[in-house]
């Protein structure tokens, strides 16, 4: 066994990650804006009108990627929590708390656009469908995480408490989803199911994928931008921060 030449922890130090994040985030922001414009152009002008749902269906170009991202970001937070618990790196907690507001935003956006879509399609703002209910609970989990980490003053302690919340949450999300699903079948609640929607045209799928990629880039850019602020706030007494060119000016 030769020791690995790659130092996996090189960028785990906030002092090294800060300039890297500073170099990367404008690129992701540019990619996100560009893809977002292309995606919106496809979804509004190129994609054909749905013969059943009319023009209103175009909400799904925002709604579906937002739902995907809200679920995916929670998994990424749990991944960082696992890293933080096992390796005890400071950056894991910072990344986790940098991602949480974006995740909560997407969960809210998904609920909001879902309600806007539901009114013309189902005739009601809200049904107690399994997906809607579990998305709502996911939103509560995000809010709980943010509230807990905000209530603890010591940042290291807040990070560790956040790790436990996100790990317990990620174990519970599938349990909650299935419990709500079975509860829903018992109650015969929603008669309309999202899974029975007609299969999509290729341009629609393309638009949705491009929008999803745009949201990915946006999330990465926002997380990196926010983590830079968090690093500066927490490391404000460190010498490397004082030596930064932007601090001297």
């Amino acid at each position: 066994m030769t020791p690995s030449s790659i130092n996996w922890f090189k960028f785990a130090a906030p002092a090294r990650f800060y300039p890297l994040a500073g170099r990367l985030w404008p690129w992701f922001a540019a990619i996100g804006t560009l893809l977002g414009l292309v995606g919106l152009w496809i979804s509004f002008f190129v994609a054909p009108t749905d013969f059943q749902q009319g023009e209103g269906y175009r909400i799904i170009f925002i709604h579906v990627p937002a739902s995907w991202m809200s679920m995916f970001i929670y998994c990424v937070m749990a991944f960082y929590a696992l890293l933080g618990v096992t390796f005890n790196t400071r950056l894991a907690g910072m990344m986790s708390s940098a991602l949480a507001p974006t995740g909560a935003l997407f969960a809210f956006l998904s609920l909001w656009t879902g309600a806007l879509w539901g009114k013309p399609m189902w005739g009601t703002w809200w049904v107690w469908d399994a997906r809607l209910t579990s998305e709502l609970i996911l939103f509560f989990l995000y809010v709980g995480y943010i509230a807990l980490t905000a209530a603890i003053d010591d940042p290291r302690r807040a990070d560790k408490a956040g790790f436990i919340v996100s790990l317990v949450g990620v174990v519970n999300v599938p349990v909650i989803y299935f419990s709500v699903k079975w509860w829903n079948t018992l109650h015969q609640g929603a008669s309309v199911s999202l899974t029975k929607a007609p299969s999509m045209a290729t341009t629609m799928l393309l638009g949705m994928l491009i929008m999803a990629l745009a949201f990915w880039a946006y999330t990465i850019a926002m997380a990196l931008y926010r983590v830079r602020a968090i690093i500066l706030e927490r490391e404000r007494n460190a010498t490397w921060v004082a030596e930064l060119p932007e601090m001297k000016s």
Binding site: I137, L141, A147, A161, I164, V168, V175, I176, W182, L186
Partner: protein, 221 residues
Amino acid sequence: MNAFGSVLRRDLLLATRRKSEVLTALFFFMIVVSLFPLGIGPESAILRRIAPGVLWVAALLAAMLSLNRLFAGDYQDGTLEQLALSPTPLALLVGGKILAHWLTSGLPLVVLAPVLGLQFDLPAEALGVMMLSLLLGTPLLSLIGAIGAALTLGVRGGGVLLSLLVLPLYIPTLIFGAGAVEAYTAGLGAGANLSLLGALLALAVFFAPWAATAALRIALE
């Protein structure tokens, strides 16, 4: 195992010395349940329909009210640090405290539920299923709640935060618990719901003391 027993005995003794805390949560449960007929109206058909849900939601809230005292007293007087220093694994001692919490806050709800169910005109067999589902479900509430109580230990505005953290995690318990009674009255049989509650309980018995211990260690740092 000896340490487990002594922690259990100590917490039970403390609860009997401070009866008002235990009784307050119980009376809270009774009052909340009694408010629903006043708000909705006394038609027995509607009351019979909503009884499982009302009893379960009230049990959830009552269990949550009493979670604050699970670790807070021991944290303030330093007992918790002594427990953490003992050679016995902290998770085992935490398990003892959770069991004591269930015996003083969960078990009385199970005993009280049939009496309150009678107010809602539930038939006798449904009351039996209700008790069984509470018997399986209330330990789950104490176990999951212990994680939240440990996380919010010594945190500003801990009480409200605790509800925000714990209530979303209580949802599966609520669904399967109330669902067991509803499935029984609908003639479907309560077996599936009760089995799922039992499975969740087995998982929580294994994982929750461990997660609560990790959270306590953060608070004790």
